[in-house]
Subunit: 299 residues, 2 copies
């Protein structure tokens, strides 16, 4: 029992310049778990309705994702719809139907409580705290969150930040939380809030990893076409913690590699809709893409 | 005679959150020449008025910058004033007094016409074409430009682009010139306009180097304080071509190093006003900062 991932499971409807899809696999933990599965066997905690497609369950099982913590409840699966503007400058939420996710109360199977790695994928920080309350181990905990919770559940989030080892947020969220637009000063303030490790995601500009006074910058891969950026951040953090859970090495040098593999998987994610871009990769795909990151950033 | 730099020489007045300065050395070729001087002996072509401070001439000479091409004309030196908003999101031009720069007609001393490297720092593209008309050599030519010329002198600029080996522009200018917001597609369009080498500067997010189908990304150094971003782009390209002129190696791997050293000097530039941050460095300063780039980006 190495890694548990707690987050949302959804069926998404996405409209983008490159096309549209309906009722496709979505939610933070779908992306996180599939991405992590390239490095370890993740254990997924979430809730779906009775309408959750058997094909997606099969996809999860094909990725050796343990589903003992995935509850199937009477009702419909969480559904989200979004539309991207040309150039992905803007995303409009078309609808949010929480359905069975509205009363989601993550209960860890006993076997999960001793996991060495916990990924709190993006859900309400109150629920994320509740997950940590159930843990029996001194796990390495990675926290993902979003602007909504900074706005509406700040107290819960601040409590939670004192309990986690790493926070992964985007640049706008870092500014919201710290009132700092300078990345170095924002990272220092975030460290003072609790997490020892800070990752600030910058979209196509890559990501910054901070630990103590050290910084690592991974660039974004230059891609000629982006089809669907949904889940890229979830994919990044899923691959990152999957790589960590496999390597069990928390040195700065190994964290750099975790960040690079997070970026590798995220770069595949945006090249297709939903989880399509990350569902059918093999080792050589990952190696080839890793080599592109080497050529692009090593001198 | 290795490198000539043609650009503006000015006295700047700058208001920024960290303070204000008046009549300090500015203009594209001041920054370019001082930055290049850490790698080679640049030859500067420009014009100043009779009021140009002797101290700045001494500073140039201390940097072993050849001034045979710097004309001193009756009248006042070009003056520019600018104000930066908090966080440097916005720069307001307070005044532009062209003075002797208004009728600048760059005339190359004969000895300069066989230079192997030419940096066309930011001035009107008509004048930049005029500089190339005077060259007797098959020099490696690097072009810098700005949004003003894309708006007001596009035909001259497009003619010029067919004559240069490398263009260095920022992301907004790349979008203006190509109507592409995707960096990969923008670079391809820029290559089709003439230059074999494309550099897109992204401010604090670093820069991208494109050659044929290859891409190199250098991150921006994470600095806790930026005092004055004026001239950072000029400093970047000055150091870059200075490094090239010293190494005479146009392989992709060496161009990567040129881009890194451009970034090293630019990171010093923004830490102080005017050319203060780049005027008094020694070899160990450059090595230490280079090592910071290694730690920050190598895995």
């Amino acid at each position: 029992m190495s890694l548990i991932i707690v987050g949302s499971l959804a069926l998404d409807t996405i409209e983008a310049p490159a096309g549209s899809v309906a009722d496709v696999p979505g939610g933070s933990s779908s992306y996180c778990s599939i991405a992590a599965s390239y490095f370890t066997h993740p254990n997924l905690v979430g809730v779906v309705g009775e309408d959750f497609p058997e094909a997606v369950v099969t996809l999860f099982k094909d990725h050796q994702i343990d589903l003992a913590g995935m509850a199937i409840e009477a009702g419909k699966t969480f559904r989200w719809g979004g539309r991207y503007a040309e150039n992905f400058d803007d995303r409009t939420t078309l609808f949010t139907h929480l359905n069975v996710f509205e009363n989601f109360n993550p209960i860890l199977p006993d076997a999960y409580k001793k996991a060495a790695y916990v990924l709190l994928a993006n859900i309400h920080p109150g629920l994320q705290n509740h997950v940590l309350d159930q843990m029996d181990s001194d796990a390495f905990v990675v926290l993902d969150t979003m602007n909504l919770w900074i706005d509406t559940a700040l107290d819960d989030l601040l409590t939670l930040m004192k309990r986690v080892d790493m926070i992964v947020i985007n640049d706008e969220e870092a500014k919201m939380l710290t009132n700092e637009r300078n990345y170095g000063r924002a990272a220092k303030k975030l460290q003072e809030m609790g997490p020892e490790w800070i990752i600030i995601k910058k979209g196509q500009h890559g990501a910054l990893l901070f630990h103590q006074s050290r910084v690592f910058a991974v660039p974004g891969l230059v891609l000629d076409e982006v089809k669907d950026p949904t889940g890229a951040g979830d994919t990044f953090v899923g691959a990152l913690i999957g790589y960590l859970a496999q390597s069990k090495d928390h040195t700065f040098d190994n964290m750099k590699l975790a960040v690079v593999f997070g970026s590798v998987l995220a770069s595949f994610c945006v090249q297709d809709f939903s989880v399509e871009g990350i569902s059918y990769l093999d080792e050589s795909d990952l190696e080839t893409r890793y080599d592109e990151f080497v050529i692009m950033s090593q001198f």
